[in-house]
Symmetry: C2
Subunit: 377 residues, 2 copies
């Protein structure tokens, strides 16, 4: 198995406004994206990969600066999502901070200023609509599949509700049909840490030459805890002390886990935009297709009766626990929609969807093999 | 069942220094405490109640300002811990902020200044030693029992390891023999939120007329999430919106759970000392009797062979899960120590230990009945 090699991000501009769920609109916007593999003559081998909170369009291969795509273990020549057979698209969602129009982009209503806190609230549904326009522009009437994990899985699900005729298969991994109160609560703590950082300046920190790094660090530390299982944290760090013996300090690092979290937090605060963090956690909070269908998740999936699904969860994922995936499966089964469900026994918690667990990748490989066979038929 | 009624906190000063585990010492100190009921002639009916993170010596009854004790549902005339039979002692631990010597007290080494960040790091063992001195001064050679939940349960356990001859029964509720990496990680996020608040001023905020309320609020919100079960949060708040419809904002309150957490956080930041929060979370982190016994929890409890134990856990407590209580039980059984263990099916998560679940309170009542019967024998 090799990598897709050096890749260069592309950008596509959309002059027509994007109407948003909130009632506002994005006046015009650019999407950063990457593609891997070749679109076949029938134009039926395209797979869209949707990203989660802090990822981007850079799914596979490496950039000139050496940065490797976030799902490079899955996507490439000979890999489970095989770029010798599929044309794979990664796209950065609007509101993000990796090249698509977002809070750090110029605000057309305030010349010379970035959007900052004035960037409109975007939802999973808005993202999917933006992605659908990109796919259309790429000359693809119907995707072979849409795939995503976590927040990306929510987008994959939303495709089958909003644009069911434009996609065949949906692969929804480590996701949920909505956030629980606890999930929302964790997001809210992260947001409060950012918003109450004096360097936040009501979201217009860029104009002040400031970055609310303290808040971003706290948000990232907290997020990180929810991505890992209790068990894997115990296995990796346990109660190990950095110096073998306690130093008895309230502020110095004593336990290895503290050192790890602070390091992750420092890295994150250097590159991630605070307004984007607020927007993306809100998109998570607001996703709730059942609510749109009078409280019935089964009714929400009625439009998806022509689609086929793979739903995957991981046993130690306590952020989006297997029972949340089973809610999705039940709603699909209630519609007599073809769904395969796998609950993978993996120790890594929510992060497992990014790792190359053998059973998990074998399952994805077999699924994409089947999708490819359908195309050839 | 009635209340113990109006109670007045008392204070006892200790002129002899308290040697601390860190190697430092507390030069002299005052302990705030309360007692309920009457010490009998044999002086064998005393029960010590140990408090957790944000509680105090005010266990039962009410103060002149109306404040009700934190375990008033358990302690009082005719209640499970019956003050008609037992002499109950509540004591505020040094380092806390409710009357005992702590970071807001005058620093003897810096006349005119409070301790602030210079208050020494205190451990569960240090607290137990301080409590033992108070108990001695009250003329009690041996406690009938020591009881505590959460961090209070750790103190109850430590009594049987450090002062086993001075206590008969240990009731350790919703506790653990040490924090997991995940537990430490949550504490570390809370501490970072406090320490990086610009109003923290390296822990000497009082001299600056400041209070790091932003950090305290984040710490409290986070703590609150870990005290409640996912299920009870869903039952209480679910995805309920404050205005029935989403307002689509990254900063305004939209979900009820957000409103609840912000309210709790605001209340907490008004009364809790930030340095105390750091000290108490550190005491939690450092508690690890197995480490002191070469890594064996069973060996750690060897001194406790003359004690009797009740260990209680709650099924939905994910902060200190039942499996952590079972580690304690196993270590006791390995020593052939008499232990009763109950895993109470309760929906409320870690907070269950403070509530009056019928089965839980019946169990405590029966246990104290037995302890009282032993005294009479």
């Amino acid at each position: 198995m090799t990598s897709v090699g050096l890749v260069t991000p592309q950008a596509m501009h959309f002059a027509e406004p994007l109407p948003l769920r909130s009632g506002a609109q994005l006046r015009d916007y650019t999407l950063a994206y990457e593609t891997y593999g070749t679109l076949n003559a029938a134009r039926d081998n395209a797979v869209l990969v949707c990203h989660a909170l802090n990822a981007s369009h850079h799914v596979a291969g490496r950039h000139a600066d050496g940065a490797v795509g976030w799902w490079d273990n899955l996507v490439g020549p000979g890999k489970p999502l095989d770029t010798e057979r599929f044309f794979v698209i990664g796209v950065n969602n609007p509101g993000s901070c990796f090249g698509s129009t977002g809070p750090t982009s110029p605000n057309p209503d305030a010349p010379g200023q970035p959007y900052g806190a004035d960037f409109p609230v975007v939802t999973v549904e808005d993202w999917v609509d933006a992605q659908a326009r990109l796919v259309e522009r790429l000359g693809i009437d119907r995707l072979a599949a849409v795939i995503g994990g976590s927040l990306g899985g929510m987008q994959a699900l939303a495709w089958t509700i909003r644009h069911p005729a434009r996609v065949r298969h949906c692969l929804a991994i480590a996701t949920a049909p909505s956030l629980s109160a606890q999930n929302i609560a964790f997001n809210e703590v992260a947001r409060r840490a950012i918003v109450t950082d004096p360097d936040f300046h009501d979201g217009h920190y860029l104009q002040r030459g400031a970055v609310p790094k303290r808040g971003l660090r706290v948000a990232r530390m907290l997020g990180h805890i929810t991505y890992l299982s209790d068990d894997v944290m115990d296995a990796k760090f346990g109660r190990n002390l950095r110096n073998g013996e306690p130093v008895y300090s309230t502020q110095a690092i004593d336990f290895q886990i503290e050192s790890y979290l602070r390091h992750q937090a420092d890295k994150f605060a250097e590159y991630f935009d605070a307004n984007t963090y607020l927007l993306i956690t809100r998109a998570l909070d607001y996703f709730d297709p059942a609510r749109d269908a009078g409280g019935s998740l089964a009714r929400a999936f009625e439009p998806a009766r022509g689609n086929r699904f793979l739903v995957v969860s991981f046993t130690t994922d306590w952020r989006f626990a297997p029972e949340r995936s089973r809610e999705i499966v039940k709603a699909l089964v209630d519609n007599r929609i073809a769904v395969s469900y796998a609950e993978i026994e993996a120790p890594h918690g929510h992060d497992a969807f990014l790792l190359d667990d053998a059973r998990y990748h074998a399952l994805l490989r077999a699924t994409f093999d089947r999708i490819a066979a359908e195309m050839a038929a």
